[in-house]
C-alpha cells in the first residue's frame, strides 16, 4: 500500500519547550492510524504541522507524495479535518453550516447538495437540518462538527478527539460513521484519549509522549509490549492480613490489592500463573466464589509506557 502521509524528522518548539521532537512516521492508504498520548504529548501540534497550520523548526512532511504547504491546494482538496473544538457558525442552520464548509471544496451546487445530504445521513442529522447549533445537544453538535469536516468526501481525514463529552448513543453513531468512512476508502488519522475506541477502530497505533514516539504498532503488537501477563480478579469473602501478604510470594506476582471482598492480583509475564495462584488458595484453605483472568488492555500498555502520574 502507498504512503498517504510521510513525516520525517519533524521538530517543533515553542520557545524553549520542545513540543515535537524528531518525529518520523508514515500513514498507509486506507488505514486508520490512532495517535495516542497524554495531554501535551504533541498530538495536536503534530496534526497542525502536517496540515501546514503551524510553522515547524525542522523536518519534512509529504502528503499524497507531495510536499505539504499552505498553498498546496490540490492536496488540501483531498483532506478533511474534524477539530477538537466545535467549529460551526451559530447563525447558520445545520444544513447551512455543512453546505458552507462543503462549498469551500465543492463548487458544483448539484453535487454539493448531494454530498451535504449524504453527510447529514452519515451522522444522523437529517431531521435536524433546519435547526441552529444552539438548538442541538452536545452529542448532536459533535456530529455536526464531523459532518462539516467530511461532507466533501475527502480521501484523508484527521479526527481530533471527535467523541469528547458525547453521550453513548452519539458516540456509537460517530464510531459507526468513521468505520463507514474507512470502508469507503478514506485514510484516517484518529487522536483520542479513549483506548477502547482505538482498539475498535485503529489498524495501527502510535503512542506519543513529550513529543516523541514511545511505541507504535498494531493493537496486538502494543499489548505484547506490556510487562504484565494477566490480571486476576477473585471474590474472597474473608482474608487475613497474613494470607493477603502471602499472595505476594507467589511467583511473577507484581501487584496485589484487596477491597470489599474483591481481590486483584497482577502477574508479570511467566508460565502457569493462574495455576500457581489456585494452588496457593487451596493450600491455604482460602474460600472463594468467583475467579476470572483478563489479558492486558491497550490502556494498561498506555499507562505502563506513559506513567500513572497526572498530566495537565
Amino acid at each position: 500500500m502507498k504512503n498517504v502521509i510521510e513525516v520525517k524528522h519533524l521538530s517543533k518548539s515553542y520557545k524553549s519547550h520542545k513540543a515535537v521532537d524528531d518525529l518520523s512516521f508514515e500513514v498507509k492508504e486506507g488505514e486508520i492510524l490512532g495517535l495516542l498520548g497524554p495531554n501535551g504529548s504533541g498530538k495536536t501540534t503534530t496534526m497542525n504541522c502536517i496540515l501546514a497550520l503551524l510553522k515547524y523548526n525542522e523536518g519534512e512532511i509529504k502528503i499524497f507524495g507531495k510536499e505539504m504547504s499552505p498553498s498546496a491546494y490540490d492536496i488540501k482538496s483531498k483532506i478533511g479535518v474534524v477539530f477538537q473544538d466545535v467549529a460551526v457558525f451559530d447563525e447558520l442552520t445545520v444544513y447551512g453550516n455543512i453546505d458552507y464548509f462543503c462549498g469551500l471544496y465543492i463548487q458544483d451546487k448539484t453535487v454539493r447538495a448531494e454530498y451535504v445530504e449524504d453527510a447529514l445521513k452519515l451522522v444522523g442529522l437529517t431531521e435536524n437540518k433546519n435547526q441552529y447549533p444552539k438548538q442541538l445537544s452536545g452529542g448532536l453538535l459533535r456530529r455536526l462538527n464531523i459532518a462539516c469536516g467530511i461532507a466533501h468526501k475527502p480521501k484523508l481525514i484527521f479526527l481530533d478527539e471527535p467523541t469528547v463529552a458525547v453521550d453513548p448513543q452519539s458516540r456509537n453513531n460517530i464510531l459507526e460513521g468513521i468505520k463507514k468512512l474507512r470502508d469507503s476508502g478514506a485514510t484516517i488519522i484518529y487522536t483520542t484519549h479513549y483506548m477502547e475506541e482505538v482498539e475498535i477502530l485503529c489498524d495501527r497505533v502510535i503512542i506519543l509522549d513529550k513529543g516523541k514516539i514511545i511505541a507504535s504498532g498494531t493493537n496486538d503488537e502494543l499489548k505484547a509490549l506490556a510487562k504484565i501477563e494477566e490480571k486476576v480478579t477473585i471474590e474472597v469473602p474473608e482474608l487475613s492480613p497474613i494470607q493477603l501478604s502471602g499472595f505476594e510470594s507467589i511467583k511473577n506476582v507484581s501487584e496485589v490489592s484487596y477491597d470489599n471482598g474483591v481481590m486483584k492480583v497482577v502477574f508479570n509475564k511467566g508460565k502457569n500463573n493462574l495455576a500457581d495462584m489456585v494452588d496457593y488458595l487451596k493450600d491455604n484453605k482460602i474460600q472463594y466464589s468467583k475467579i476470572f483472568a483478563e489479558r492486558p488492555t491497550l490502556n494498561d500498555v498506555f499507562l505502563e509506557l506513559t506513567g500513572k502520574e497526572l498530566r495537565d
Partner: protein, 397 residues
C-alpha cells in the same frame, strides 16, 4: 467560491443579533433620542434664550471673533440664543453654582472652554455653539492664511524688495464674509437647527465606525490563530484572499445598507434637514465606512489576541478617535491642538471633519480632501493587512 463565501458571511452577519444591534439598531435608537432631545428646538415659538456667563478677562477681550459672536448671539430678537453676563471668573463660578446660568464660557490661549454643572439641552446647545464659533474662527484663519500665501506668491520680487505686503486686513474681512456666506448650506438657516444637524452628522460618523467591529468579527472567523472556524477555513483548498475579501465585502455591504437606512430614517422619518448635502453625506458615509471596515480587518490581523480582547481594543481605538473628533460633547478644536496628527490620520477624525466642512465651508475642497484622505488610509490599512496575512503559518495557534 467568492459568492458562496459572501452569501454565507452576509447571512451569518444578518443573523448575528449582537452585530446587528450595534450596527443597525443602536444608531437608530440614538437618532430617535437625539430627535426627542432636540424636539423643542424645532418649535421656535417655545425656544427661549438661556443664561450664560462669559469670563470677561484679557483672553476674552483679545478674541475678536468670540466677542463679536457672543454679542450677535445675545442680541434680542428671534435668533437670540443666550442671555449673556460678562463677569470675572469667580462671579461666573458663583452664578453656575447658584444655577443662575446654564454654563460658563472662558478662553485660554485662544481656545474656548465650556464649564457646565449638569447635562441638558441648553448645555448641549451652548457647547455646540462654542465649538461652532471656534471652528469658524479656525476656518477664517485657514482661508486667510491660504489667501495671504497666494497673494505673496503672486507678488513680484521687486514688490517684495520694496517691502510691499498684501492687504491682510482686507483678506481677513473677505475670509469672515466667506465663512458667513458659507453658513449654512441647508434650507432652514436657523442657527439652532444647524446645531441639531451637526449632532446628526456626528451620529452618522459614529455609525460608520461600526464597520470596524463588523469586519473584525468576520476576520476572526477566517483566522486560524483566533477561532476553530478559522482553522477549518485555513485547511480548505480555497485561497485565503478569496475568503477574506468575500467576508470583508459582506461586512461592508451590511454597514453600507445600515448607513443608508440610518440616513434615510433621519431625513424622511425624523425630518432632519440635510439640504442639498444628502448625496455628499452618503458618499462620505460610504467612504468612511470603507475605511472603518478595512481598519477593523487590519487590527484583527495585527492584534494577536482573542476575539473579546480584540473587540475591546478596537472599541477603545474607535472611542479615542471619536473623542478627539469632538464627539461625546468634546471640543474638536481642543483635541486638534493637543494632537493635530490624530484627527488627520484617524478615520473617525476625517469623517467628522468631512461633515464639519460640509457644514462650514461653501466650496467642497476640504470635504474632498477628507474623502481622498479616507481612501488613502483605507489603502494603507489594506496593504498592512495583506502583509500581515502573508504570514500564513503561525508559530503557535
Amino acid at each position: 467560491m467568492f459568492w458562496h463565501s459572501f452569501k454565507y458571511a452576509f447571512r451569518a452577519l444578518l443573523k448575528s443579533k449582537a452585530m446587528m444591534f450595534w450596527t443597525l439598531i443602536f444608531p437608530f435608537i440614538l437618532a430617535i433620542l437625539f430627535n426627542m432631545a432636540f424636539a423643542r428646538l424645532h418649535d421656535f415659538d417655545v425656544f427661549e434664550a438661556f443664561d450664560v456667563a462669559v469670563v470677561d478677562d484679557e483672553n476674552f477681550r483679545d478674541s475678536e471673533i468670540f466677542k463679536e459672536a457672543f454679542k450677535t448671539l445675545s442680541e434680542e430678537g428671534e435668533e437670540q440664543l443666550f442671555v449673556t453676563q460678562y463677569v470675572d471668573s469667580e462671579k461666573a463660578d458663583q452664578l453656575l453654582a447658584d444655577e443662575k446660568v446654564d454654563g460658563i464660557v472662558y478662553i485660554v490661549d485662544g481656545e474656548p472652554h465650556v464649564k457646565i454643572k449638569k447635562n441638558g439641552t441648553n448645555q448641549t446647545v451652548l457647547t455646540t455653539a462654542v465649538e461652532q464659533i471656534y471652528q469658524s474662527s479656525k476656518m477664517i484663519e485657514d482661508i486667510a492664511g491660504t489667501k495671504i500665501n497666494e497673494a505673496v506668491s503672486e507678488m513680484s520680487p521687486e514688490q517684495l524688495m520694496r517691502g510691499e505686503m498684501p492687504d491682510v486686513e482686507k483678506i481677513y474681512k473677505d475670509a469672515v464674509a466667506t465663512v458667513s456666506e458659507a453658513e449654512p448650506n441647508v434650507k432652514d438657516d436657523s442657527r439652532v437647527m444647524n446645531m441639531v444637524v451637526i449632532e446628526f452628522y456626528t451620529l452618522i460618523a459614529m455609525a460608520c465606525m461600526q464597520g470596524s467591529m463588523l469586519s473584525s468579527e468576520m476576520m476572526d472567523r477566517c483566522l486560524p490563530n483566533i477561532t476553530s472556524r478559522g482553522k477549518r477555513v485555513a485547511v480548505a483548498p480555497t485561497r485565503k484572499g478569496i475568503v477574506i475579501a468575500s467576508n470583508l465585502l459582506a461586512s461592508y455591504s451590511i454597514l453600507l445598507l445600515s448607513l443608508i437606512a440610518l440616513i434615510a430614517f433621519m431625513r424622511f422619518v425624523l425630518g432632519v434637514e440635510f439640504g442639498s448635502n444628502l448625496g455628499f453625506i452618503i458618499l462620505l458615509a460610504a467612504v468612511g465606512g470603507l475605511a472603518s471596515t478595512v481598519m477593523g480587518m487590519m487590527l484583527s490581523i495585527v492584534l494577536k489576541t482573542n476575539n473579546a480582547a480584540k473587540n475591546v481594543i478596537i472599541l477603545i481605538i474607535t472611542m479615542v478617535g471619536c473623542l478627539f473628533a469632538g464627539m461625546f460633547g468634546g471640543n474638536k478644536g481642543f483635541f486638534d491642538n493637543l494632537s493635530p496628527i490624530i484627527n488627520k490620520i484617524s478615520p473617525v477624525g476625517m469623517i467628522t471633519d468631512g461633515f464639519y466642512s460640509l457644514y462650514y465651508y461653501a466650496d467642497l475642497a476640504r470635504y474632498f480632501s477628507n474623502v481622498y484622505g479616507l481612501l488613502i488610509v483605507a489603502a494603507i490599512f489594506m496593504i498592512l493587512s495583506i502583509r500581515g496575512l502573508r504570514r500564513q503559518r503561525y508559530d503557535s495557534i
